[in-house]
Amino acid sequence: MAQAASRVEDKLYLNRYLVDAGRAHIKVRPHATPSAQLLSLLKLCPAHCYEMNSAGQVEITTDGCVECGTCRVIAEPSGDIEWNYPRGGYGVLFKFG
């Protein structure tokens, strides 16, 4: 798992991004114990944006997000996350797509 995760970081390094600093477009609702949906995102997010912190809560770093919407279809219905697109011009900038 750790090996696969490091490989995905190498993949994201190939991509172009314009990060909207301080304005994360996806937010995780504060929680004590993560739901099953949130936990599934640790593996399911193709950009490995979701990670568990030392307190056992799921956190997101959106810098490498490829804006696919997978986490939205999984965890927005339960209210676990709030999902928006980045502001115009920001986020991933595909060269090939």
Binding site: A4, L12, P46, E67, C68, R87, G89, G97
Partner: protein, 435 residues
């Protein structure tokens, strides 16, 4: 509020949005197209195969200057187990025709070209603008959009929602539901660059010829899914996708699956020594006919992936997107020409035009296929590929075992894995869903 008013606003500049904006502008309507990327294409992800027929209906002479990669002369379907693939392979020189039917394209480049055509036709294309909300009157009629620009509200008679599979506007306004995890696939893809001669030698191609490989089997770990390898001019688009609900169930990682596909002995040699230049992920609508939402209402229509218009069996999406965008635009033009209002009643013509086209007819034909493949994923994506591989291995290996014994062993392995009732049931259900 931007003072200027538009006959129509198109949200999104993918295949559906560009087809709609182009058609509306060609018919002389005042069109505003809004795109959140820095240009049309910078947020768009596809395999990608372009079907000429649907584009010809919009831009008849597109071959003159569109950025096309290769025209396809060869199609391979692979059924894979961990060490082998059993293939169905079709290659024909007849596909080397004056006006080829299928091409590989690179979306960021193709869409940029498409958008130029939209602008030349007279549409106002505003990029780097995210639409955040649909503006509705007290009766729910859509009357405009709110964007993330300063004073960014714009009024219109009709909004064409071409916002993609993960469009937020329509779902937030209650016009359709958010896609269910069992009705969308997550695909991940890499762009592998190789010297042109190397690529052509590996796939036995000359000039602009191209080949496509689509693969199912143990690569998807029992999930409903497919891998693909498409040849571009000097790159290979390689990816794999599976249902989101299957990923959720199995705990597989999409990048883990991609790495496994790339390291398969049948794939490894094709991409050896390549330079990877991009990694992308995208959702694909997989629910088929039964997942199509309400397509029109007072002051709005929805087109393309946002409307779930994707033929998963034939892996066609962009052509359905282009056709739906064009038909939505034709509908709006007809209503406008009669000086009628953009009511739900009048916009119902869009649905009717779609029903009369290949879009709905094809999707209707396969209306039961998604459920069949999703519920019986283990059989179709794991058990059968393994059995077929074993049968083929027995068939070609010459080792002194009599042919009669080999056939018996093969039959026994099929019966042990699925039982005679199971096999007949799978075949029957598959035939019925295909019909």
């Amino acid at each position: 509020m931007i003072e200027e008013r538009f006959d129509a606003i198109v949200v999104g500049a993918g295949m559906a949005g560009n087809a709609a904006a182009l058609t509306l502008a060609q018919r002389g309507l005042k069109v505003l197209q809004l795109e959140r990327g820095e240009y049309s294409g910078s947020k768009n992800v596809q395999g990608a195969i372009l079907y000429a027929d649907m584009l010809e209906k919009l831009i008849p002479d597109f071959r003159e200057d569109a950025p096309l990669e290769r025209h396809l002369i060869e199609q391979r379907f692979w059924m894979m187990d961990d060490n082998s693939h059993t293939g169905l392979h079709y290659r024909s020189d007849d596909f080397n025709e004056e006006k080829p039917n299928r091409y590989t394209i690179i979306r960021a480049q193709f869409d940029k070209w498409f958008s130029k055509k939209v602008q030349e036709a007279g549409a106002v294309v505003l990029c780097e603008t995210t639409v955040t909300e649909l503006l509705q009157d007290a009766r729910g009629k859509v009357i405009g959009v709110r964007t993330d620009r300063k004073n960014g509200q714009v009024g219109t008679d009709v909004v064409v929602l071409a916002e993609g599979v993960n469009g937020l506007l329509g779902t937030r306004a209650g016009l359709r539901n958010r896609p269910d995890p069992s009705k969308v696939a997550l695909a991940v893809k890499e762009m592998h660059f190789l010297p042109q001669e190397t690529l052509e030698a590996r796939f036995n191609l000359k000039g602009d010829e191209g080949a496509v490989i689509e693969a199912v089997g143990t690569i998807s770990e029992g999930m409903t899914g497919m891998g693909f390898i498409y040849t571009n001019r000097e790159s290979i688009s390689l990816g794999i996708g599976c249902l989101v609900s299957d990923f959720e169930r199995t705990g597989q990682t999409p990048y883990g699956l991609l790495e496994k596909f790339k390291s398969h002995p049948s794939v490894k040699g094709l991409i050896e020594g390549s330079e990877v230049k991009e990694y992308a992920a995208h959702l694909i609508p997989e629910g088929g006919y039964k997942a199509i939402p309400q397509l029109f209402g007072d002051g709005w229509v929805v087109v393309g992936d946002a409307a779930q218009l994707n033929n998963a069996v034939h892996r066609e999406g962009s052509n359905l997107a282009m056709t739906s965008g064009r038909l939505a635009a034709e509908t709006i033009f007809q209503i406008k020409s009669r000086r009628d209002p953009m009511t739900k009643e009048n916009l119902a013509l869009y649905r009717k035009m779609l029903e009369d086209s290949f879009v709905m007819k094809d999707l209707k034909k396969y209306r039961n296929m998604p459920e069949l493949l999703h519920i019986r994923a283990q059989n179709f994506f794991l058990t059968y590929p393994q059995l077929v591989s074993k049968a083929m291995k027995e068939f070609v290996r010459v080792d002194g075992v009599t042919k009669a014994e080999k056939e018996k062993a093969t039959l026994r392995s099929f019966l042990a894995a699925r039982s005679i009732k199971g096999i007949i049931g799978d075949a029957f259900n598959f035939a019925r869903a295909w019909r």
